[in-house]
Subunit: 197 residues, 2 copies
Amino acid sequence: MTAAVITTIIGMGRWQPDAMGRLQRAALELYRDRGYDQTTVAEIADRAELTERTFFRYFADKREVLFGGSDLLEQRLLDALAATDPASPPLEQVAAALVTAGEVFADRATSRLRHEVISAHAELQERELMKLARLGAAIADTLRQRGVADPLATLSAEAGIAVFKVAFERWIAKAEKRSYDVLFRDSFAELKAAAMN
Amino acid sequence: MTAAVITTIIGMGRWQPDAMGRLQRAALELYRDRGYDQTTVAEIADRAELTERTFFRYFADKREVLFGGSDLLEQRLLDALAATDPASPPLEQVAAALVTAGEVFADRATSRLRHEVISAHAELQERELMKLARLGAAIADTLRQRGVADPLATLSAEAGIAVFKVAFERWIAKAEKRSYDVLFRDSFAELKAAAMN
DNA sequence: CGAGTGATGTCAGCGACTGACATCGACCAT
DNA sequence: ATGGTCGATGTCAGTCGCTGACATCACTCG
């Protein structure tokens, strides 16, 4: 392990370092430049100086290469949720956790580029929706473990995800300057206002 | 056209009638019995006494064959939304429309079967999430056309969809006897309560 | 020094999906 | 009636996503 780290740092091992990262960058560039469906996995692998077979060892399919960060987001989110006051209203717990989890986002320009690529292709949107749904399910699970009954647990999780989607879209909108947490809190306040009638 | 209808009714045309319906039924049965990924499109086509090529003329891909009703749902939903009071709070408009749109659901047993098949396969869940996302986008568009500003329009649509998902899942839960509209209204009330803190 | 390991490559194959073209009853105009 | 058009289907060949089985070979460790 130590030796592996050293060869990674020095970059003189049998293989060039960071194969996964090379694949991710190659894919993002090609998807951006030629479009998702005009790009073959073989081309991605070529650009990363690897083979198609190796691509599929790192990523389950052609879409997954764009969603490397979602495990990290989920972990951060669940940690943040665990740190909230279990006595506070569930929706407030979820909102607080979603604010905290925003720390893991890459810089705005990168997030914007990635989101543009995803928005341009239905298959990629489907995968993104799936990641968010998993996130919602994980939140709901945690709430249930904390004693929140259904349907409140599921509803709080789903509503939180809805606010998250809106806040994230606002955050990467052109010319938007406000920070993610400001936008999230604003969107959350708007949801509460909308629900009070 | 008249002749086409007659041959369809009598069923003596050059081809057996209702090719699309035969494909849908064959697919649902095979997905249920052998699982989605153990079923090939060629097998579905065979059971429907058609060819693979014809399958792909009716459905864009192997998943889409399970989602024939979603255009109808969207149409019904937008009609219902147009019929609500534009002066009422947007979230109330959305909720009212989602109650009405529930009329298009097939009987509970069929919905349950279809949902079981979908729940068993991630690829199918992705497609379902995409359909719901499109529904949400259509709702938000209509609200904006009616003068509702963003982010309120998007938030109302997304929150409505969240309630819909929860209500639908409850509706098809084992042993559930209450009607969809009762469950929707109950879930909606729960969301409002959750947001009032 | 030899055995084992792990990241990668090679190869063959299946199945989803597509474009181009063929078929052939039904329908229509003359 | 006759010929021409049309529309739903079939045939065929090909590309690409994805997988299992097996090979390679620098590196590591005993």
